[in-house]
């Protein structure tokens, strides 16, 4: 059974070593989680890094590009800014640019968005009857950009089997890898 060699590897480790590897694995998972949560605190955004999932902002952003967001409440939204917002009844947040904006004396703001690559504004995408977005709809504002990196997540979402393969592979590697 050549394909199950790695099980022999695990069997050859003593209990203490196995325990160490499991802890090591937990350490990696929890540091990743802490980095994500830490970014949430620093950027004040509920999802500080997003992957662009549609072509509606081409040629600026393509599918699979990565955006870094911030969402500080004292930093006002202005026209021309690229915002990431959520619409009631839709799971996936949308990345589009602010086209017009009206701000009241007390700071209440309503604004309309449009994708660079779309012919019309976003009112057709909003919830039925909704004409404007408000501050509470905003998940974050795009501050930084890196191309292509998000392609991995898109592949994983499109092919769930690939995702489990990668996760299983990584898990096994971490568990049986010895320095």
């Amino acid at each position: 059974m050549a394909s199950f060699d790695f099980l022999d590897e695990v069997r050859r480790m003593n209990k203490r070593q196995l325990f160490y590897q499991v802890l090591n694995f937990g350490m990696i998972v929890s540091s990743a989680l802490m980095i994500w949560k830490g970014l949430m605190v620093v950027t004040a955004s509920e999802s500080p890094i997003v992957v662009v999932l549609s072509g509606s902002m081409e040629p600026a952003f393509f599918r699979g590009d990565l955006l870094f967001l911030t969402n500080h409440q004292d930093d006002p939204i202005r026209v021309g800014e690229i915002v990431v917002f959520k619409i009631e009844g839709r799971d996936i947040p949308i990345v589009h640019r602010v086209l017009r904006l009206h701000e009241k004396e007390n700071g209440d703001v309503k604004f309309l968005t449009k994708g660079d690559n779309n012919m019309v504004d976003d009112r057709g995408l909003y919830a039925p009857g909704q004409l404007w977005l408000e501050r509470k709809d905003v998940v974050g504002r795009a501050r930084g950009y890196v191309p292509y990196i998000g392609m991995v997540t898109i592949l994983m979402n499109d092919y769930p089997k690939f995702k489990y393969l990668v996760l299983a592979g990584l898990g096994i590697f971490v568990l049986i890898h010895r320095e």
């Binding site: 202005r78 021309g80 086209l99 904006l101 009112r123």
Partner: protein, 174 residues
């Protein structure tokens, strides 16, 4: 230790670090650019009409003819993929402390002509007020701004130096 797999792994890891280093240098060398430029927005024939928005609300709508002069050539460098230009009408009104309406935009990709001298621009997005406060308004500021889209890095938004303040007549044009 010298299997095909371990060699492939080494090459892959090295390629990734080189790419990461290059991307970071690309970002660092351009992160502190001001991306500023002088602009001129010209307008004439300001009129205001009492109109309805596509969603049935009565709102003032401004019209004017528009021209633009801006030399943005020096903004382009190795870390600029495109510029997103937009003309904003900004004003204070009875209803709102701040109104910002984009009336025109344009994407200038890398390599395209970036020394702009546009005699007449068609207003791309209708200039509707949020209510009926545009009549007789004399503090509408027109500015040209741009959002620099890099190959990798920050996404600065810059307001061009040199704005134009326009006013609308006291009477509606039918």
């Amino acid at each position: 230790m010298n299997s095909v797999l371990s060699r492939a792994n080494t090459i892959f890891a090295f390629t990734l670090s080189v790419l990461a280093f290059l991307t970071f240098s690309c970002f660092m060398t351009t992160a502190f650019n001001t991306n500023a430029a002088n602009i001129t927005v010209r307008t004439s024939d300001h009129i205001v009409k009492s109109a309805f928005t596509p969603y049935g609300a009565r709102a003032d709508r401004g019209f004017f003819s528009l021209g633009l002069k801006a030399d943005l050539e020096q903004i382009f460098n190795w870390n600029v993929k495109q510029l997103f230009l937009y003309i904003t009408a900004e004003y204070e009104s009875e209803n709102n402390k701040l109104n910002q309406v984009v009336i025109w935009d344009k994407i200038i990709p890398r390599g395209a002509k970036s020394n702009l001298d546009l005699k007449t621009i068609k207003i791309k997005y209708p200039f509707f007020d949020d209510g009926q406060t545009l009549k007789g308004k004399d503090n509408v500021t027109l500015t040209l701004s741009w959002n620099v889209i890099p190959n990798a890095g920050l996404l600065p938004r810059i307001v061009g130096t040199g704005n134009t303040v326009i006013s609308f007549p006291n009477e509606y044009t039918r």
